[in-house]
Symmetry: C2
Subunit: 150 residues, 2 copies
Amino acid sequence: MLQLTRDGEYAVRAVIFLAAQPEGKVSLINEISVEQEVPKSYLSKIMQHLTRAGLVKSRRGAKGGFTLARTADTITLRETIEAVEGPIFLNVCLIKKGECHRDDLCPVHPVWKEAQKKLMEVLEGKTMADLVKDAEAIKKSSKRAMLRKA
Amino acid sequence: MLQLTRDGEYAVRAVIFLAAQPEGKVSLINEISVEQEVPKSYLSKIMQHLTRAGLVKSRRGAKGGFTLARTADTITLRETIEAVEGPIFLNVCLIKKGECHRDDLCPVHPVWKEAQKKLMEVLEGKTMADLVKDAEAIKKSSKRAMLRKA
DNA sequence: GGTATTTAAGACTATTTTAGTCCGAATATA
DNA sequence: TATATTCGGACTAAAATAGTCTTAAATACC
Ligand code: FES
Ligand code: FES
């Protein structure tokens, strides 16, 4: 449907949450689930994917939980989404040659290629560190708006 | 899955086919299906959608068939796809306010907004007339390549 | 060692979407 | 009337989506 799935959306929320935590803080499924409004048992599966993809580090048992596996400025939005959704291709013919009926004669192919490139530029241009910073800026400006009203 | 469905792909093929026909030519499901490698009975449904969306004109009965309802230079790639897939939104929260958990506080929202805008620019920037012209250019240049080889 | 805590792994399910097929009815031509 | 052709909708199989639930494994603390 040319639309991000819940998997992708939830993965992004979870990673942003981790990125926003203070250095060394370990987060529990429960916290993330409540704060980011993601069903707990569903989130658990998503965290597993993120862990296997190497974005997140997990520790089991008492005092266990999740942290980022790398610094937030090295994790892009694209990587986070693809970790749970698999590689993004706006059209099947972009996966590899021979998927479409006579790819090199298809006039639409270059158009999808460009659309794909632009989408990737946007998703790769934002790191989790950027998003955390943006979130802070939004919070501050909305606080100012509240004060103006009062 | 953040990917174009067969509906969209087939619709584009069908409309390009019609756009490439000489003025006044009426095309049959059968022709389009064979030429563009789309299952006949599936294509029939897609043509209905395109007709209802006002991109294509249909006439039943003997000597019936399909033609474009408007000139090819007024039909964009976006319009063709949305005629069969419905409006494109890269994330549900782009549909309308209140879809995401607290939209105005979400730092990811502006990113999706930009991705959406760029995608739309690409898909709206190509008309069916453009694509037919591109196809001709590709055919010519591939013919030149053949001659060089021979 | 025993117990509480916490994630890992995967089986299971319900609903929706995708990608079609098939057929009878309507419509137009000759 | 016979023939050609789309229209409309019912029908289907397979996959994706969006979850839930249960059991196992790892870790910490007493
Ligand atoms: S081959 Fe890629 S759009 Fe046709
Ligand atoms: S509200 Fe649109 S991405 Fe979060």
